[in-house]
């Protein structure tokens, strides 16, 4: 995973130049250990940002989806309720069995119910057991960089080892727990 843009300590190239480059090429900046790497994203020629604001294209997509879902529902009702003989007399003979008009919704509902149980089970299975090293540390904490301590500055954010945390909580705060 690339390091996030750190706007505080290292100056970026000029904002105007950066925006123009993004527009033209669709590039992304990534910063790693003091140097600037330019990475080519999927060059679409458009802005790379994704915003949830309403756009004309999205309105059209929404309306098409609405129309097609209404049509699909009406078609399903026609197929399920109107007897075969009427449909055959109209000339529409090649339909699936009406059995599926009941079976598919039932399958769907059972899938949803099993999905609840399955999700719960998957959550329990992916919880680390008590003897796992993942409850203490992980790759990011092991490979974190030790920034130099600067006077009069807020110390950099880092993962503190669990031994130190324990000593601070349980050895120092004597009065807190004997009350």
């Amino acid at each position: 995973m690339e390091a996030p843009l750190s706007l505080l300590s290292h100056p970026l190239p000029s904002a105007a130049g950066c925006a123009r480059a993004r527009e033209v090429w669709g590039l992304e900046c990534a910063r790693a250990s003091g140097r600037v790497f330019w990475r080519l994203s999927k060059a679409t020629g458009k802005m790379v940002e994704n915003s949830p604001s309403p756009l004309p294209e999205r309105a059209i997509y929404g309306f098409v989806l609405f129309l097609s879902s209404q049509f699909g529902f009406m078609l399903y009702l026609v197929w399920a309720f109107i007897p075969e003989s009427w449909l055959n007399s109209l000339g529409l003979t090649y339909w699936p069995q009406k059995y599926w008009a009941v079976a598919l919704p039932v399958y769907l509902l059972i899938t949803v119910v099993i999905g609840y149980v399955l999700l719960f089970g998957i959550n329990m299975m992916s919880t680390s057991p008590l003897n796992s090293i993942h409850t203490i540390t992980d790759n990011y904490a092991k490979n974190q960089q030790q920034k130099k301590y600067q006077e009069e500055a807020i110390p950099a954010l880092r993962d503190i080892s669990i031994s130190e945390v324990n000593q601070m909580f349980f050895l120092a705060a004597n009065e807190l727990y004997t009350n």
Binding site: M124, T127, N131, I136, N166, F170
Partner: protein, 188 residues
């Protein structure tokens, strides 16, 4: 010197912690759970036998009743020998290591020993356990490759599962011994 205190486990059951100070460099902590309660035993036996009798009235096969008696007896013996842990002990000897003993209700004892050279630290860790977040004491083992790394986590008092107040007592005593050990090992 012996010391007995009463605590609760994470489900609210009673626990008894007995501390023995053999010397400044050797201590033992003994957590005892209450014995198998007669109420639970009667309840389980009645349920199993009533269910077997219900099946018998349906099937008219008397083998079900004998099978139920057999299953109950074997189940009870298996539970006492493999599942029910009465007492868990943690023995720390300064220069030697840490020993954990579990005594089962049938008298069986299972022991684990970790030598002091492998022990990095004894800490109280929080983790998610079955829809709860619990505190538990664990021993961190050193990584032979990396000096500041942790190779393994060994949880302690797994079946008794005491609450934080009990764990803090044990933790403080362990830290005293580990500090004593570091002081005596670094001094020439």
């Amino acid at each position: 010197m012996e010391d007995k205190m009463s605590f609760l486990d994470i489900c609210g059951g009673r626990l008894a912690l007995q501390r023995r100070y053999y010397s400044p460099s050797c201590r033992e902590f003994c957590l005892s759970s209450p014995r198998l309660s007669l109420r639970l035993l009667t309840a389980v036996t009645c349920t199993v036998w009533l269910a077997a009798y219900g099946l018998f009235t349906l099937c008219e096969n008397s083998m079900i009743l004998s099978a139920a008696i057999f299953v109950t007896l074997l189940g009870l013996l298996g539970y006492l020998h493999f599942v029910k842990i009465d007492q868990e002990t943690l023995l720390i000897i300064d220069s030697l290591g840490i020993q954990m003993t579990s005594s089962y209700a049938s008298g069986k004892e299972s022991t684990t020993f970790i030598e002091m050279g492998k022990v990095k630290d004894v800490i109280i860790n929080e983790a998610i356990y079955m829809q709860k977040v619990i505190y538990y004491l664990c021993i961190l083992l050193k990584d032979p490759v990396e000096p500041h790394g942790i190779s393994q986590v060994v949880p302690v008092f797994q079946s008794a599962k005491p609450r934080l107040d009990c764990l803090i007592e044990v933790y403080r005593s362990c830290q005293e011994i580990l500090a004593y050990q570091k002081a005596t090992s670094t001094s020439p």
